[in-house]
């Protein structure tokens, strides 16, 4: 759902609220209103539509005001007739016309029909003494009988305290055609002056509360992305997972949670991470490439975004003991780090073979106070470490929280982790706005193992279908070599670690071992969000071999002075064969730095 902030009056305040990127800003051109705007409207980003609000004004006034202030929409709050609307539309064919109707306990929807063809939107406001700005809500259940398919704005007394109701409403049938939420007086310190922090908080939580119901490529309320997802877990895990499912959205929406999370991302992780225009790389491939520098985060990768979120979640759930799985050790280190930060016990399961391969990260975890337990079962790698962590959780159902490191596992994990990682694309939006004057790139590229960095980079664009999403998988020695981790190419629908998704398995349904030079992409499954992006064709999937990735990693070192993680090098390798237009704007999520992979680079290039 879109957000409109109405009744803007003061220049500085207009600029401040505009920086929060609402979809619409409303200006009242009705001189009897306390919010009547008498000054000029400052220059605003093109992504924000300026709406002029009028009450029974003459057609001439409306037309000249629209032209004078370069408005993109008019909102008609009086007794304007069908013919009046028709005439405005004729004179200003590119302007959106929003016709307002006031509602109390009942409403005769028959009055809408004649306006259908002459308006772009309806707006439903509370009936009160004044034309708008009465400050209380109407009975939204009335909208269950909405007979039209015309998108509408919901207005009237909406404030922070209505967030939960809005969330409920957005799940209901009545909200099917609700296009936007319109807010005004509940955010004011005086008429026309909006409280920046309050609007900011509302906008963030509004997104959290309503996003899942409006994004078709995002998760649905049953925990599925299309056919994929769900919670295929033994009954022993049900109470733990159910506790999390019932609480995660509620906790994430708490202002104190948001505040603590954002503070830690800023001061501890070092966010926002830069969006860097890679000039020489762009010249080489004759296109415009921006790198989202997740490699500059504390602990060296995007993983920490999720562990910070989950440790705060665990604290609020009253958990005293943290468990995690890790493959290469990056998620283990990120988990050990936040456990040290919060003084919680930390146990990391790691395959016995990986422990031998990743000695520096094992040492890091131990220095941070974690206990590293070798997974001795099965193939003794990431998949088995995950099994062991799940078994630990079965054995310790009350006091323990399991911090899963990717967008995998039973619902709500894939969604929760994606939300914590979505900070990546939230930042890309405003950073790209600053650099390119647009929030949407043409392409977003990210590597996919389980898929958490890709989920974060794609999140804001899942339903913006004019943004091409490119997911890059590890082909290992080649997709058909038998030594590969290209799940979309080789996987079939099945169940792994509690989730229905694509996974690599035998015809008999036994899960097989993947291979990639990159330990972070070496997972036999893929998160259900990505399985759905693949199955629906929403994202483009590309497989990259070890050799291609290593060479692309080395190229970035030479061209940009950045040593990337081998996972991210897979994403970089896309440019070799996949051609882009010179004017394309591409954002590549540089998910991690290459320090941990130094030995691999040394061995591979015989440095």
């Amino acid at each position: 759902m879109k957000l409109k902030v109405c009744g803007m009056k003061f220049t500085e305040n207009i600029e401040a609220i505009a920086s929060l990127q609402p979809d619409y800003l409303g200006f009242i051109f009705y001189d009897k209103s306390a919010r009547f705007i008498s000054s000029e409207i400052p220059n605003l980003p093109k992504t924000i539509k300026k709406v002029g609000v009028f009450v029974n004004a003459s057609e001439e006034t409306v037309v000249t005001t629209v032209l004078e202030h370069n408005l993109q929409a008019v909102q008609l709050h009086g007794k304007e007739s069908v013919d009046y609307c028709k005439s405005i539309k004729k004179q200003l064919p590119d302007i959106e016309i929003i016709k307002v109707f006031s509602v109390k306990d009942e409403f005769n929807f028959d009055v809408l029909a004649p306006f259908e063809s002459v308006c772009d939107f309806f707006l439903f406001d509370t009936k009160g003494k004044l034309p708008g700005g009465n400050g209380y809500t109407f009975n939204w259940n009335i909208l269950e009988n909405y007979p039209s398919t015309k998108p509408y704005f919901l207005s009237g007394g909406l404030g922070i305290s209505e967030l939960e109701n809005i969330s409920e409403f957005s799940k209901s049938k009545a909200s099917k055609y609700c296009y936007a939420i319109d807010v005004n007086s509940k955010f004011e310190t005086q008429p026309g002056l909006k409280d920046f922090e309050l609007v900011k908080q509302f906008k963030q939580q509004f997104a959290v509360n309503t996003i899942q119901h409006t994004m078709s490529y995002n998760i649905n309320d049953k925990g599925y992305y299309g056919e994929f997802g769900g919670a295929y877990i033994p009954e022993m895990l049900y109470p733990n997972v159910e506790e999390l499912r019932q609480n995660y959205l509620k906790i994430m929406a708490e202002p104190s949670f948001q505040e603590e999370f954002n503070q830690l991302l800023k001061d501890y992780v070092g966010r926002p991470s830069p969006l860097y225009f890679a000039k020489r790389l762009s010249e080489k491939y004759n296109t415009k490439i921006y790198l989202k520098r997740e490699d500059l985060n504390h602990t060296g990768a995007h993983k920490i975004n999720n562990t910070v979120g989950q440790i705060l979640m665990a604290k609020r759930l009253g958990k005293k003991r943290i468990i995690a799985e890790t493959g290469a050790g990056q998620h283990g280190v990120a988990t050990a780090t936040v456990c040290a930060l919060m003084g919680l016990e930390c146990i990391v399961y790691m395959g016995e073979i990986d422990i031998a391969r990743q000695a520096p990260n094992v040492a890091r975890m131990k220095m941070l106070g974690a206990t590293v337990i070798p997974a001795l079962s099965g193939s003794r790698t990431l998949k088995d470490a995950t099994n062991e962590a799940i078994r630990d959780w079965i054995n310790n159902p009350v006091n323990t929280h399991y911090i899963i490191g990717s967008v995998v596992g039973p619902h709500p994990y894939p969604d929760m982790v994606a939300r914590f990682q979505s900070v990546v694309s939230q930042e890309i939006e405003w950073q790209l706005q600053e650099k390119e004057g647009r929030t949407k790139p043409d392409h977003v590229i990210a590597c996919v193992g389980g898929g958490s960095n890709a989920a974060g980079a794609f999140y804001q664009y899942l339903d913006e279908t004019d943004v091409n999403l490119i997911a890059v998988e590890a082909a290992g020695l080649g997709v058909n070599s038998g030594e590969s981790a290209a799940t979309s190419a080789l996987g079939k629908e099945g169940i792994i670690h509690g989730s229905k998704t694509l996974l690599m398995q035998t015809d008999d349904g036994q899960i097989t071992e993947p291979y990639s030079i990159s330990a972070g992409l070496d997972y036999p499954g893929v998160g259900p969000m990505h399985a759905n992006l693949f199955a629906t064709g929403r994202a483009e999937f590309i497989s990259i071999t070890d050799d291609e990735a290593m060479n692309a990693g080395m190229e970035l070192c030479k061209l940009e002075g950045i040593i990337p993680a081998i996972e991210s090098s897979h994403a970089l390798a896309v440019f070799k064969d996949r051609k882009f237009k010179p004017e394309d704007v591409i954002v590549l999520n540089l998910s991690g730095r290459g320090d941990k992979d130094l030995q691999n680079y040394i061995d591979y290039f015989k440095i």
Partner: protein
């Protein structure tokens, strides 16, 4: 009437044994089943091995990976069991994880079970809601009883729901743990057994996890209809082979 329901009506405490099909050797399946019946076992859970058995401890994990190495598959198991009803009359249940069944095809899997004379299924990672929404009709079409688990953490409300969804018995997991990790029951478990018993559920309960000798069998069946032994039996055949299963069962029943 399904053999499971008939068995549950008998006036005795039931001893049920789990073993992993294809372990210790690929072709031991039929002989283990026949011997267990001869030694007075009331019901058998035939374990369909899986590469990633999340709810199992090391004993069953190892037997599963060995069985897979031996060459056990879903098709192979059905092949081994095709004439089982010529020699065995006690209830037989297949216990396994959902993914191999999904790959075989749930309908084809259930159909095959009916042909062979399998009476029910225990699928720990197929949650009751998914079952209800997608698979219940298929199971019922082929006359299969689906068995759900409850644990000490399961809420009363959910137990009531599971009771309502069950048509055979409820698999009562004795404690918060994976298989094979308990030794003896304490007060906490006894209280849990009593609490469930006092709920007077419509569906009889059989306890599993942590039963490994006569004492724990007796404790478990004081409040319930029967008990299932898995890891302890696997350990026994690992150490003693499969030639004298009576030595194991007689110890439990003594």
């Amino acid at each position: 009437m399904n053999r499971i329901n008939k068995k549950l009506q008998e006036d005795k405490k039931l001893l049920s044994i789990y073993f992993t099909a294809g372990y210790p050797s690929l072709n031991d399946t039929v002989s283990i089943i026949e011997d267990l019946e001869k030694n007075g076992v009331d019901m058998i859970e035939i374990g369909l091995p899986f590469s990633d058995p999340l709810a199992d401890g090391p004993t069953i994990q190892k037997s599963s990976s060995q069985a897979l190495k031996n060459g056990m598959t879903t098709a192979k198991l059905f092949e081994q069991l095709k004439d089982i009803r010529k020699t065995v009359s006690i209830p037989l249940v297949i216990m396994g994880y959902f993914n191999p069944m999904l790959q075989y095809g749930v309908d084809a899997f259930c159909k095959k079970c009916q042909e062979i004379g399998i009476d029910g299924l225990i699928i720990p990672d197929l949650p009751v809601n998914e079952y209800k929404a997608h698979y219940k009709e298929t199971f019922e079409k082929y006359g299969l009883i689906n068995v759900f688990l409850i644990t000490p953490q399961t809420s009363n409300e959910r137990i009531a729901f599971i009771d309502n969804m069950s048509n055979g018995f409820i698999y009562m997991v004795s404690s918060a743990s994976v298989t094979g990790s308990q030794s003896g029951f304490g007060d906490e478990q006894t209280e849990y057994f009593k609490r469930i018993s006092d709920m007077n559920l419509n569906t009889p309960q059989i306890i599993g996890f942590g039963i490994n000798n006569a004492e724990t069998f007796k404790q478990a069946t004081t409040y319930t209809k029967g008990a299932i032994i898995g890891s302890a039996f696997i350990k026994y055949i690992t150490e003693n082979g499969i030639d004298n299963l009576g030595a194991f069962t007689s110890k439990i029943k003594s």
